[in-house]
Symmetry: D2
């Protein structure tokens, strides 16, 4: 059994990690930390866990965390980077669900995240954990930078087109829509039910932190640096990301449907729908799947890729478990064979 700890388990990605790891056949939860809730049973804060988990929250003591085989960080940005070096030295593997290790360029990271990086020397080593892109590197990773929710959907949607040089990468457009849980579990008027229900809008229109992350990922497979317009929107719902991706085809002779099906045919968590279908977020809710469709409206030279995922699962905690499975040599889908509950 893999001994696992979770630092910062009171947020939404932390909750989701709990749900998944409690049922994971090869994981034993050792430490679930929260400074604010230390001493209380985890199930007293999350009544859905009554009868499933006996642990109490504890303060994030290094000694305790060092006894784990893997520690997940589900903390706000800026926390993991202060604790990771010590854990690594003790031989603990780290899966960081925050953004601390996602950007290779420390200066770029500081520019978007508004703070100095605490251990820029580790950025190179950290593996960006999009398994469909970096599976091999992940197997040997000590620090796994788990991708952001939008970056997962956008990269997986554009990858087959960009890697195969099929589109004009100067002007990629990603129109993305997210449920409110993407903003986290924090006391903030802007995400009250009364402020977000029965309404929607684009937000962060002057630049969202996931932009450099997406560009960095696409650049690794693109012939030249991509030019991306990324526009996130807030949806009146809890979970789910839908991304509509637009690009101009420079080669119109490719059978896009076959291309996508082939590209992802061995991927357990990327599901390419039949021509004409459109993925909806509820069909993947609570699961680690990303569903994709590709089309060319009116047969023109604009290609549209439609993607749907659960921002808290494939976009966060589920992908983190998938990465842990890879890092520890387990079957990649272990603990992740989930069916969305409809309706």
């Amino acid at each position: 059994m893999i001994k696992a700890g979770i630092v910062g388990a009171t947020g939404y990605t932390g909750q989701e990690l709990l749900r998944l790891l409690i049922k994971h056949p090869q994981v034993s939860l050792q430490a679930i930390t929260s400074r604010g809730e230390a001493g209380k049973p985890v199930a007293s804060l999350f009544p859905n866990l009554r009868g499933h988990l006996e642990l109490n929250f504890v303060v994030p003591e290094p000694a305790l965390l060092k006894s784990c085989d893997v520690v997940f960080f589900a903390t706000p940005n800026g926390t993991a980077m202060t604790m990771v070096p010590e854990l690594l030295e003790s031989g603990v593997k780290v899966v960081d669900l925050s953004a601390d290790f996602r950007i290779k360029d420390a200066a770029l990271w500081s520019q978007w995240y508004g703070m100095e990086h605490a251990c820029p020397e580790l950025l190179d080593e950290a593996v960006y954990g999009l398994p469909e892109l970096n599976r091999e590197a992940t197997r040997k990773a000590r620090i796994l930078a788990n991708p952001g929710c939008y970056p997962t959907a956008v990269q997986l949607g554009f990858l087959p087109l960009v890697k195969n040089n099929l589109v004009d990468t100067d002007r990629l457009i990603a129109d993305c829509k997210s449920g409110v849980s993407g903003a986290g579990r924090k006391a903030d008027i802007g995400i009250l039910l009364c402020e977000t229900s029965e309404s929607m809008k684009a937000y962060s229109i002057n630049g969202h932190r996931h932009l450099p992350e997406i560009s960095q990922g696409l650049n690794t497979v693109s012939a030249k640096k991509v030019g991306l317009t990324f526009m996130p929107h807030l949806m009146p719902m809890i979970r789910g990301i839908q991304a509509s991706l637009y690009a101009t085809l420079i080669n119109q002779n490719t059978d896009l449907q076959s291309l996508f099906e082939d590209f992802y045919k061995d991927e357990p968590f990327v599901d390419v729908l039949e021509q004409g279908l459109s993925p909806d977020t509820r069909s993947v809710r609570g699961t680690n799947k990303l569903q994709l469709a590709v089309c060319r409206p009116q047969g023109g030279d604009t290609v549209v890729v439609l993607a749907a995922e659960d921002n808290l699962v494939k976009g966060a905690a589920g992908q983190a478990v998938q990465n842990m499975n890879i890092m520890f040599g387990l079957t990649e889908i272990m603990g992740l064979e989930l069916i969305a509950a409809l309706p």
Copy 2:
């Protein structure tokens, strides 16, 4: 492996049965019927099942159903009763999620359901499958009448009080609130998103079909016939039932908290919360649990029981699987150890 069939799998309780039975370690799905969708892959109608189920819908042929060990009916009222006798003769066990076998009195049934009963001679044999009330009879049942969603919550909430003669049973009040999925998956203007979202109301105020079912159940444990006011309300949400039950105490010396905890201490799916807590529907969403709380506001002689369940699971498909487990001698919780996904 138990060979199972589902008649009428295109509704919401049918969908939920599919989700549960696909993952049940002792069940093999044999036949999933739908006259309207026969021939199509089940997963083409329900994209959440892509990769989890290879079966096509079939027409409900008796021969096919007779090859099953158990057949679940997730059909509109009035269908199961026309098919059950033939199945029973062939030795197939039946779990009926519709109302056809819930009421022992055929005349009363006809009055509330507006049709003649097709096999009144079987009503006596049918076991009303609320496991917490009828577990022993269920073990030997050939026809299992799976309880309605409201009746499950209301009976489990009132049982400890009524069975122990603690309340005035002349005037029980059940104020119940249900998500819209309780109305089923049918083309009906009244349950459109635009008609039900951002609003709520009481409905069926002149009498709801679950009233005689609840009364019948409580009468089996009550010293005298109960007098029940049952008022259902429609909530702007998909899943979940919350019931607030009111009664006048005739014996105020009982420790109600201990009473409830003791009453349900061996029940795997009834969870009594600590004093002062109130169950919310999301904490049991997608699971077979019913959470209960009991209180006496301002220490008066009115007792209030609060109950929360998922109307499609403990209130329908989950309880059906629980009943099947009992009928076939399996561990009662098999396939039902589910954790609600928060948020």
Copy 3:
């Protein structure tokens, strides 16, 4: 023109007052205060007011407020009581939407609101502004205590029964459901969309502050002190209160439908529905109407009253404007002839 000020206009009742007063033909808005937002255009915080209002927020200066004919307090509890005496001395009339002047008994108020009252000597003079109960007193009021949202619905529903001695007042039950806006506009995790959508629950089960307010009001028309069980529930929607009220009839010969219709026949904002109908909250959303229905399920001795209102209008800002109209001798419905937008 009546010169009006609003203290604390950044909350939901303040927003709603703005919407109503901007369009009121006899009101001129003079001062809209907010310490936090002083100096900013009101329309920069509330984009729905762009083009409808040119004012900036100002700090709540006494001099400015004294130049008003009426000042509305849409502040948290405990604020109005510190400012009202000075305004009264200057001849300004006050409509307080908070709870500061609702309870006549200062000790009882302190017990429920957890602070000393700053001007208990004014409690007697303050008029409890439920127009259907206190219209005459309201005409001469200097301090108007605007009722709470739940108390408005519950009192108007029980009034015809209690005043006419038709029910056992020892055991009144009010099962009430509210949209999340009832909790106000504040940074609180419990009212995030992700915490309240797709779920519901009872809350404040050990006692809600509106209990003594309702009891006080019903006691003024009841032959003896009422015994009330009041159970509030949180609904996954923005606006609306639905109340289901239960009582035992002690006189079963009254035609309840006629009683209710007669009782409210001259009331512009109480609408009694035809027998068999049930009010839904969306039909009164955004309006000052309360819709009522009365029934006796299965012809028994339990009477059920169903009430629906918009908690921010008839339950707050609309009733405040109605009260202002009465206090200033205007037509009572002025500025309040609103139609709910369906769907």
Copy 4:
């Protein structure tokens, strides 16, 4: 007073017309038709109208409609075209909220709407009623083709850019999101609350009927035929359209903010937000306003226009009233000075 009739008032655009016309100071409602509901009070179907409207539904008799000055069609596509010629001959003006007269090319119309046009000879005369584009022609119109909901938002968003030759019109992209009311009030499983809440998706991905309407409108101001990719998405909410429009700038020296502000400075219902803001649908809910923002993410050559409107008001009934005001020489904003209710 203008005598007005509404044909087909049981749908959502019909309901919204009722709400607006009842309060319109220069309109007297004469006839509200519905074959299915004839004889019943309109307020019995729509309880929000209780006390506001005394009329009963009537069958759509030509004689009755001919006594009107204006008849609004809020009917499914294909109905208005069969009744309009006779009304015109009688001197009645027509505002058609369906799609029957929106497309000038009868063959193109038939291709998208799947039926022959009943009076192609009138298509030329019909005025496409986007006031910001066609105000002068509207003054003299006998048949007013009221624009679709998406076309209103998309055209008003692109107009300043296309008319001023600032963007590459070969590849315009309109990513549009609509509340469910856009699908109308009809018994259809796909728009049930349980099928659309807590989810979202793109739909009509192979071509939506509003595509030729938008293209036709933009072509009237474009130097060459536009190439448009139009992708509609279904949102889990009742009302509101948000459109994110993308184009490549061919002239990067224009101050886009000033351009948009100048372009719409005299328009009462188009509101250009300050730089950096993003319109949300709730701020215009229930009103006839369209709010716009324009930006250039990361200062690149992609321009993004963000638009928000209420699909049932500026996207349907409100614009119809605005057009009626113009056709009858009234103040254009009469009856439309509405403030959105927040929250």
